[in-house]
Symmetry: C2
């Protein structure tokens, strides 16, 4: 089924305790599209770049089945650039540089062909921009997923609450769930957040896994303990891409299939952190992905009674 | 099979964001024995208290099958007292008062009847005191479990390394595993720590669950997301008590049964945090415990393929 991915396509420069990069390809929509492309080839990208963005990176996305009708290329302008340094714990980071560039006046335009998309993935962006996408839809999608972060809770909470009311599934991390709800217990936080609109909530806990909430139902997906954790950049977006790509491939949004999608998303994220940037999610195949999904199943397998 | 539990029996005064207590009954060995008593009734307690310790609390332990031959009662002296205040995140805390009292010169004496115990659980104590217990054993137990903390890594690392070399299973939290090994990746940390002696390692991650390592094998036990998290004091000890009590009840230390024991320990810990001190682990029954174990199984259940 058709999938529209909205978000940044950008340059990143990353420093971790294990090394640093020059400007590399990043952006939420890049990670989301690449991860989703392992499951479905009916993907439309809606984003904006400057004329400094390398054609071969766009060509790579096209070769993975990602359509570019919704990508604006701003002649003579520069692409969004973010630079950050991770602390030794790899969970916290300092932003060193944020150059909005083309993102400052980004007004997303959905091609007519994807205004009735079955699945819509709104990557982390200004809530008002995410809302502009929803306003252009001409039919109710099967599922609208929205990712956001504490930054928007701090400076654009009203807009964020308005857009959250329009979506089906929200993905945020545990601290953001606590901030948004004012509740310490994630169970209570989830109940409050689901009352704001979304029927589903995914709470991402980084190296501790993820929780999927739906009504009174709850699913805990662990993170695969890894020998090498090199760069967490894009792990949340890669998770979201694997998640929605897997759902879009069958169109089945039953809770059982959503649990499976959380595992596929986590499997994709587990590749992502093993190298810098998008490097480790490029060139995978379904066999490797399935092997990792089975590793998740083994990791938590036990029988209550002997 | 027989189980010896060594550790503190003490008074605590606890402050959390949700309330505070006067002096209540605490201590690692108290939590461990109470949790273990749901699975086995062949438990020997080795500890020390002052004459200020209430007889009815000892009587309660006795009524649960805990033998007191190894409990020293120091006439005219005061029991160990700890007081602490948890921060809003419930994961970090400040120690307000530590009065060692009888603990300052604690020299554990194992009754002859338990020098050939099958299972030995060494709760958090000075590493040299833990070693004194091991030295008194006349036969190799099936399993020696040791719990410790960062405090001993800071001030008694040499002694700690010596005692770790003598045990079968170590329980520490994730930050302590990183400190002890100098490795960020928990997979690498576990490999290094298992080279120090223990064949098994349990890394406790609080509200994020626990990891069991054994050679190349790995098991991830989630924590049950709870509506009410009231007081984390004793959760790690309650986990250890449920874990070793469950193992001692059958004597089966296969990896499959250890995974089960981790779940039973986590189930006991999930009760513990719902009220202050030992309150929520008193008066449980096997039916409630089994129901919670099945809740763990449901929480992570998924089928990789539709």
């Amino acid at each position: 089924m058709s999938l529209v991915v909205v978000g940044t396509v950008a340059f990143d420069a990353i420093e971790t305790p294990f090394g640093k990069t020059d400007k590399i390809i990043g952006g939420a929509a890049t990670y989301i599209s690449l991860a989703a492309s392992y499951f479905t080839s009916d993907i439309d990208l809606v984003s904006v770049v400057g004329s400094d963005f390398p054609e071969e990176s766009l060509e790579h996305l096209r070769s993975r089945g990602v359509k570019m009708g919704g990508l604006q290329i701003k002649e003579g302008e520069k692409s969004f650039f973010w630079s950050g340094r991770y602390h030794n714990d790899m969970n916290t980071r300092d932003t060193l540089v944020t150059e909005l560039n083309v993102l400052e006046h980004f007004d997303p335009v959905l091609p007519d062909s994807c205004k009735d998309a079955d699945f819509v993935m709104l990557g982390n962006l200004t809530p008002a921009v995410q809302m502009r996408v929803i306003e252009q839809l001409t039919a109710q999608p099967k599922l609208i997923v929205l990712d956001t972060m504490n930054f928007w809770m701090d400076i654009a909470l009203d807009d964020l609450i308005k857009v959250i009311a329009k979506i089906d599934l929200l993905t945020i991390n545990d601290e953001e769930a606590r901030q948004l709800s004012g509740e310490y217990s994630l169970v209570k936080a989830a109940k409050k957040i689901m009352k704001m609109g979304p029927k589903y909530l995914v709470i991402k806990k980084g190296e501790h896994g993820a929780l999927l909430f739906y009504g009174d139902k709850l699913f805990y997906c662990p993170a695969l303990p890894l020998e090498e954790v090199f760069d967490p950049t894009g792990a949340g977006d890669t998770f979201a891409g694997g998640f929605i790509g897997f759902l879009a491939s069958s169109g089945d949004i039953s809770f059982e299939n959503m649990k499976r999608a959380v595992i596929y998303g986590s499997a994709m994220a587990s590749f992502c952190v093993e190298k810098f940037g998008t490097e480790a999610i490029i060139g995978r195949d379904r066999e490797e992905i399935n092997a990792r999904v089975h590793a998740f199943a083994d990791l938590v397998q036990f029988t209550p009674d002997s």
